[in-house]
Symmetry: C2
Subunit: 206 residues, 2 copies
């Protein structure tokens, strides 16, 4: 990480460009045409555990955003909710807005800890697929199957339009193959990934 200094008056995203959680914030800013500075943080060599970093985010996690007024905010899904307030990425209807949050909380509890963790263990810890804990694989498949059922009759997760739920879920779903999951087994999910990548648009490599 080159520096912990932010550009005054501009959103700063501290992130790792291989992390789906970090990319969610980047894509949301880009979709909403919010200018930002991206500062790469390598969590594998302790850059998110320095005193300067922990002062911004005591959890020592990326992404961490520093807003244009200098205040910090953590948790990818909380950051994108903040950035997208008042935009079409959040449904105007209260029930649909709650359904969006339902998917986003579900993502952090029932999807990311399996689909993203399998990928992390294979890519960053060098574990072969056969050594990933079977419970992680099973629950990752269950999460993808639940998305497949939901997407069988609709183009977007909520309310017929692109919302933060799609951004939150596409982040690790599009890279599921890195964790040993075959997206081809979930054709509605695979088509949805392509739809969301085109809609945002996403140019980052899978």
């Amino acid at each position: 990480m080159a520096t912990l200094k932010k550009v005054a008056g501009m959103l700063t995203i501290y992130g790792d460009s291989t992390s789906g959680n970090c990319l969610k914030v980047k894509w949301t800013a880009e979709r909403l045409a919010i200018p930002y500075t991206w500062i790469d943080v390598n969590i594998m060599n302790g850059e998110s555990r320095t005193p300067d970093f922990l002062a911004m985010n005591p959890a020592g996690q990326v992404p961490t955003a520093v807003l244009d007024d200098g205040r910090a905010l953590a948790q990818s899904n909380a950051i994108i909710c903040y950035l997208a307030e008042g935009s079409p990425l959040i449904p105007a209807d209260a029930y649909q807005r709650a359904r969006m949050l339902e998917w986003m909380f579900w993502e952090q509890y029932s999807h990311e800890p399996y689909v993203a963790v399998a990928r992390f263990q294979m890519m960053h810890l060098g574990k072969p697929l056969a050594e990933i804990e079977p419970r992680i694989i099973e629950r990752g498949k269950a999460a993808l199957a639940q998305m497949e059922a939901a997407l069988s009759d609709r183009d977007f997760l909520v309310d017929g339009a692109l919302t933060l739920a799609d951004i939150a879920l596409v982040a690790y779903t599009r890279m599921a193959a890195d964790g040993g999951f075959a997206l081809g087994d979930y054709p509605a999910v695979e088509t949805w990934v392509e739809r969301i990548e085109a809609a945002l648009p996403i140019r980052d490599p899978r």
Copy 2:
């Protein structure tokens, strides 16, 4: 579970009264004086996996709420966001609202999977403390330590007032002893638990 029928026109909460996630919804409804029907669901004997239940919530999880108009909503934190819209439990300021969500997403990712899971394994699976995976205990302690640091200089997690962040976090924190965590090691957290229990108020046994 006596029945899956809801009372027409009234919020129905399908829940397990020993589950902190379910109690969050009950406390929020009571705090806001929203009438509700509570239907006990025993997840240990498959009651959340019946076809009727899965039609409401394909994830087969409690709590599941059926709103007064008959629409279902899952994920405790999404349900309480819906119920509390426009109330003082959600800060009016956009940044403080995002901080509230930051704590709520953190709760589901960095607190519940350790503090609540240790309790579940001891209470429901009958594991002795010595057999709980050390990683679960370590991360649960780290979560409580992070709350201790945050609460050392404030009465509530966000913005000087009771918000959904306090409700979400108090749910399993107040029962941390059931998972082998000593709340006495976190005095600011212990005092905060008593404060939130008194403020809501919470009458459910710990």
